[in-house]
């Protein structure tokens, strides 16, 4: 026997949570583009998508967010802090790769300095992930040591039932348990069989790649130039990555009043590292692509003992010139050391 949530009850669950003052978010499509949006009922949810176009990250680390408002007087500067409100949120229908990305960025945003903008939202959100029963050609979680039913970063894991009429429910954290207890009357007990998980083939040997990346000899390998030759230097792979977290701080307004914002930024952009003097440590697109791969699979894991890639495959899926992490790591796996 296991705890079950039937699809037919989902609408009532959402209503219950909303009555309790929670906001409910889930995958939905607007203007042809899928992403996580607040929903009022189950009908607005797009739970059949392999993945949303934009990531879960956006709900925690928006592409632009006000940090401080300022007003400058003669003798003092008044500021207003825009730390996000603690409105509690249920995020329903997350894919395990996206949820795993949350844990990756937790490490970064808590590295000695605790980023309240990230953690207020983390602390007030409950993530309901749904294990994957279908995937596409770009999925590669298994290559990263994850799986279609990974639990990392999730508070509740739902496993679709074979009959397609609901999910087997498993609370993973206390937050998850609490969120379930408020809908306990809508949950059932039963022995319904779960649907088989999707089979995501392993596309590269991660450990071999990491060894190659860690070898200082390879830093200036011709490989980097060849693999990134067609890169046009846009930021779509970074902006659609569930873990990429680089940002810019920009003031808007004037020198009397305005807002200081935290905006997404990308290591793909040529100005990202440009010094005022004109010197640019990463002056070429190949150096920037190397940084992206190195950061994900070498530096980040050295620091935080986790790869900052969860295998969602969006970088390749959305790349205007059909590049991405998969191709690069596949190529590295086959390189002779």
């Amino acid at each position: 026997m296991a705890t079950l949530l039937y699809s037919a009850s989902l609408n009532d669950c959402i209503a219950r949570w909303r009555e309790d003052g929670l906001m409910v978010f889930g995958p939905s499509t607007a203007g042809g583009v899928s992403g996580f949006r607040e929903v009022e009922d189950a009908g607005s949810l797009d739970l059949d998508l392999v993945l949303t176009r934009s990531t879960l990250k956006e709900l925690f680390f928006p592409r632009t967010e006000p940090m401080l408002g300022y007003r400058i007087g003669k003798q003092q500067i008044e500021t207003e802090e825009f730390i996000p409100p603690e409105g509690r949120r249920i995020i329903f229908g997350v894919r395990p790769c996206d949820a795993a990305g949350m844990q990756v960025d937790d490490a970064l945003f808590d590295w000695d300095y605790h980023d309240a903008y990230w953690f207020r939202r983390r602390d007030s959100s409950v993530i309901f992930s749904i294990a994957c029963t279908h995937s596409d050609a770009f999925c590669m979680c298994t290559s990263l040591g994850l799986a279609p039913d990974s639990t990392k970063g999730s508070d509740v894991l739902l496993r679709p039932l074979a009959a397609g009429n609901g999910w087997k429910v498993e609370a993973l954290t206390e937050r998850g348990e609490n969120a379930l207890s408020s809908i306990s009357s809508l949950l059932k007990e039963g022995g319904d069989a779960p649907a088989p998980l999707t089979d995501v083939p392993v596309k590269f040997d991660l450990e071999a790649c990491r060894r190659w990346l860690a070898d200082p000899e390879n830093f200036e390998s011709r490989f980097w130039k060849e693999i990134s030759e067609r890169c046009i230097g846009c930021g779509s792979c970074t902006y659609l990555c569930p873990t990429c977290h680089c940002f810019d701080i920009q003031d808007e307004g004037d020198t009397y009043q305005g807002v200081r914002r935290k905006n997404w930024d990308s290591c793909s952009f040529s100005l990202f590292t440009m010094h005022t003097s004109g010197h640019n440590p990463r002056a070429t697109q190949s150096a920037r692509w190397r940084q992206r791969i190195m950061h994900k699979f070498n530096y980040f894991s050295l620091k935080f003992n986790v790869n900052s890639c969860t295998g969602c495959g969006r970088c390749t899926r959305e790349c205007p010139v059909d590049m991405g992490v998969t191709e690069t790591l596949q190529a590295i796996s086959t390189l002779q050391r």
Binding site: P66, F82, E252, G253, D254, Y256, Q257, G258, V259
Partner: protein, 149 residues
Amino acid sequence: MSEVFEPKIVAFVCTYCTYAGADLAGTSRLKYPSNVRIVRLPCTGRISPMFILKALQKGADGVLVSGCHPGDCHFDHGNYHARRRWTVFNSLLQFAGVPEERVKFSWISAAEGIKFAELIREITEDIRKIGPFEEYHKLIAETGSAAPL
């Protein structure tokens, strides 16, 4: 009682013709609404569409761009270049949904103080009728920065 809406209008003008025309309107004691803030530039050829976007970003309800009549440019052909840019930018703004009343273009010479005063009056009244540029102001408000105009 609701406050009377006073349109905020920014005028980008060339110094040789329209600014002189505005000056003439002033010295001739012609009355025109004080809703317009004049930004003086050397030539209409210097007036980039970015200026118009900046004015709107800072909360303008309307923008006027004005310079010498064709053939009268102090720099010979600055206004001919400007005219092409206006043609293109004007149609872009309209396609983007900026009502045509909000962004206006004109030729006003140094001798046309009356035309200047009348045009300002006309534009101010037109915008007063359609009200504040609420659609744009909503976007400004979302940014959290004030529209200081």
